[in-house]
């Protein structure tokens, strides 16, 4: 599973003979080299960049090596609303995606078990959006939610939306876009756990006087926890760093910018590399802490 790395229990392997462990090391070498080259090196480089100071008589975008921790203070004071907004949007999108995906995954994985054809068909439909570029789909939603669109005119007609209101550029549109784009990442892990759900446990619970809602709350939900944890992580982590949906070119506006957009702007427009690097490091650390606490609290070790 994607989050096995966060699991607190480490498998105790028997000490293998020395010769075999050398072979294992040899086989691991390409992977280790790859990680060192393409993960560790950029990470260290990012960390170094985040402490750089502007070159004294340099141009815009020229920096020298320094230990300028002030960068961190500056970006937090400047951009704390974006950081908070990112996590609020990501959380909202994760919750919404879970609410949409759970019934869908339950239907595919449990109800449709008797009809394998329907099951495969619905799975294909869940995956189908991946065949079209993520950017194109988001752009399409920009059209669908634009001021002249059927959605907006209908909402205005029934007075659910004020006559001068918009959908694009608002937090609603951004959260909607995030939810839409990450629903498959929620549905698929949920489906894999629910597909293996042993219905005899549900029968046993109802035999023990649990009415349907209690069966769901006390048995179905705890038994599908591995899927819920995997799905929420696969949604929350990329959503928190997403910069496409909230971008002004897509569904976002000036008041709905997320940390990803700020990093993008600092790297590519303002050429303020240390600020962008510091923000990236902050984003990564906060996600790590949140995920760590979440996985510990969810307590799914023995269900994995």
């Amino acid at each position: 599973m994607a989050f096995a790395a966060f699991s607190s229990t480490t498998a105790q392997a028997d000490p293998a003979p020395r010769r075999r462990s050398r072979v294992a090391l040899l086989l691991l070498l390409p992977g280790i080299l790859y990680l060192v080259l393409f993960f560790l090196t950029p990470l260290v480089s990012l960390l170094i960049t985040s402490f750089q100071a502007p070159a004294e008589f340099g141009d815009i975008g020229q920096y020298t090596y320094a230990f300028n921790w002030q960068n961190y203070v500056d970006v937090v004071t400047d951009y704390w609303p974006h950081i908070v907004r990112s996590f609020v949007f990501a959380l909202a999108a994760t919750v919404l995606a879970l609410l949409f995906s759970y019934p869908l995954a339950y239907f595919i994985g449990v109800t449709a078990r008797r009809w394998p054809l329907l099951q495969s068909l619905m799975l294909v439909l869940v995956i189908a959006p991946f065949f079209i570029s993520f950017l194109l789909r988001t752009l399409a939603w920009k059209q669908l939610l634009s001021d002249e669109s059927f959605v907006v005119t209908s909402l205005k007609a029934v007075s659910l939306l004020a006559p001068d209101a918009h959908l694009t550029g608002t937090p609603i549109a951004v959260i909607f876009g995030l939810t839409y784009n990450f629903i498959p990442f929620m549905t698929l892990p949920l489906y894999t756990t629910l597909e293996r759900l042993d219905l005899r446990y549900l029968e046993a619970a109802s035999d023990l006087y649990a009415h349907p809602f209690e069966v769901f709350r006390k048995v179905t939900i705890p038994l599908s926890m591995p899927g819920i944890v995997a799905g929420t992580l696969l949604t929350f982590i990329p959503a928190a760093g997403d910069y496409v949906n909230a971008s002004r070119d897509f569904l976002g506006g000036p008041d709905s910018q997320m940390i990803g957009n700020v990093i993008e702007a600092n790297f590519l427009v303002l050429l303020n590399y240390p600020a962008a690097a510091a923000l990236s490091i902050i984003l990564m650390s906060v996600i790590l802490v949140i995920v760590g606490i979440y996985v510990k609290r969810a307590g799914t070790e023995e269900l994995l």
Binding site: R113, R114, D198, L199, R200, Y201, E203, A204, A205, S206, D207, L208, Y209, A210, H211, P212, E214, V215, K218, V219, P222, L223, M225, E302, L303
Partner: protein, 402 residues
């Protein structure tokens, strides 16, 4: 079930005209069954005979196509599983893997909001001698321990009716014996009504007060294990399912007040009148293989013995305490004889000419109409249609359980 209260005592169960059809086949044809409160009732039959479906109907996990189910006089046919005063020990145990043993046992008590669920759960675990493992997760227990937890989880609710679905199937022989004894003790202590479903005739024989033998969705015979079922089977199926039988078909050629005489391919065979269900016309009679004797010479004719032979031994196989001989008798067919492995007595080899005899009082007459055109001995119940039906039911249950 009203919350906060236990059932006062075991309740009687009544099934009236139950029929259950699945798409494409019928699991239960027509079932009328009445189980008195406080009894240990076993439903015995081969796989696919409809016994597990019957249990699931009583538990409320299936709905009958027709008929009604009464528990303690109240009609529960329309009630869902969680509303019925019934608990089940499942064949797979179905212990919740995300809860400790203690929480598993307390689950039903908590759902019904019964006071002190933890204390009562500990008490039930003490009854099955597993209280020291209360904090473990079910997957950390052995199969036998899991089985006892499943039992504790059911009886802690003091249901009016306890359903057991082959709960001892996965255990080894020694543990089975232990659990059988434990179940029986619990039943006597707690006074519940037990409905036990099994394909193991020995288990049913040792534990139940009353056994109903089921076949192809019908009850073939019902009665106390001894002597009714074993000594006086009513149908060829029961005669062969509960141990093996040698069955013969022939016309009744004479009868007195104490016995009837049947002509089996020229042999005159006597059966006590009170052990024969039918006294005229074509009848099927039988005798258990362990009641037959094997002789190397033609035995002296005696009024109290039936003799058959000569025949030829076609197979000899040893099984611990006894030896099984297959003897081909001309015009009659192949008969089975179990002989105790004693140092003396006739011991025959394959190809030897032998005679068979048995005491008149050991014979029995079936109620079945003899199947026209069938040979003197009944064929095993393995015709393609019944095999197809059994396959189908096992597939359906597998699909539902998967």
């Amino acid at each position: 079930m009203a919350s906060g209260a236990f059932a006062e005592a075991g309740a009687d169960l009544e099934l009236v005209g139950i029929q259950k059809r699945f798409p494409g086949f019928t699991a239960i044809e027509h079932l009328d069954l009445s189980i008195p409160a406080g009894s240990f009732f076993a439903l015995l039959g081969p796989s696919g005979c409809g016994k597990t479906t019957t249990l699931r109907l009583v538990a409320g996990l299936e709905e009958p196509t027709a008929g009604s189910i009464l528990i303690g006089g109240a009609d529960v046919t329309q009630q869902k599983a969680f509303q019925r005063p019934v608990n089940t020990v499942f064949q797979s145990y179905a212990l919740f893997p995300h809860m400790t043993v203690l929480e598993n046992v307390a689950f039903g008590l908590r759902r019904r909001k019964i006071a002190d669920p933890v204390g009562k759960a500990h008490e039930a675990l003490r009854l099955v001698e597993l209280d020291h493992l209360a904090a473990r997760k079910p997957q950390q227990l052995s199969g036998g321990q899991q089985q006892r937890v499943a039992l504790a989880r059911a009886i802690v609710n003091k249901p009016a009716l306890l359903l057991l679905d082959e709960p001892l199937g996965a255990l080894d022989l020694k543990l089975r014996r232990q659990m059988q004894l434990e179940l029986k003790t619990i039943q006597e202590e707690v006074g519940l009504t037990f409905l036990h479903v099994t394909h193991d005739q020995e288990e049913a024989m040792t534990m139940a007060d009353t056994i109903a033998v089921m076949n192809k969705g019908r009850i073939e015979q019902m009665g106390a294990p001894e002597p009714a079922l074993r000594e006086l089977p009513k149908t060829a199926f029961v005669a062969n399912f509960l141990g093996q039988s040698n069955l013969f078909t022939g016309p009744v050629v004479g009868s007195t007040s104490t016995s009837i005489t049947v002509d089996i391919a020229g042999h005159r065979v006597l059966v006590p009148a009170d052990r024969a269900h039918r006294h005229a016309g074509e009848v099927t009679i039988g005798v258990r293989p362990e009641k037959m004797w094997l002789h190397r010479k033609a035995p002296v004719e005696a009024a109290d013995r039936n003799v058959m032979g000569p025949g030829r031994v076609i197979d000899v196989s040893f099984s611990g305490v006894s030896t099984q001989y297959l003897v081909a008798v001309p015009y009659i067919g192949t008969l089975i004889v179990f002989a105790q492995n004693m140092a003396f007595g006739p011991v025959a080899d394959v190809g030897d000419e032998v005679w068979l005899d048995w005491h008149v009082e050991h014979g029995f007459g079936l109620e079945d109409e003899p199947v026209p055109g069938a040979g003197p001995r009944f064929a095993a119940d393995t015709d393609t249609r019944s095999i197809a039906a059994q396959r189908r039911e096992s597939l359906v249950t597998e699909l539902e359980e998967a």
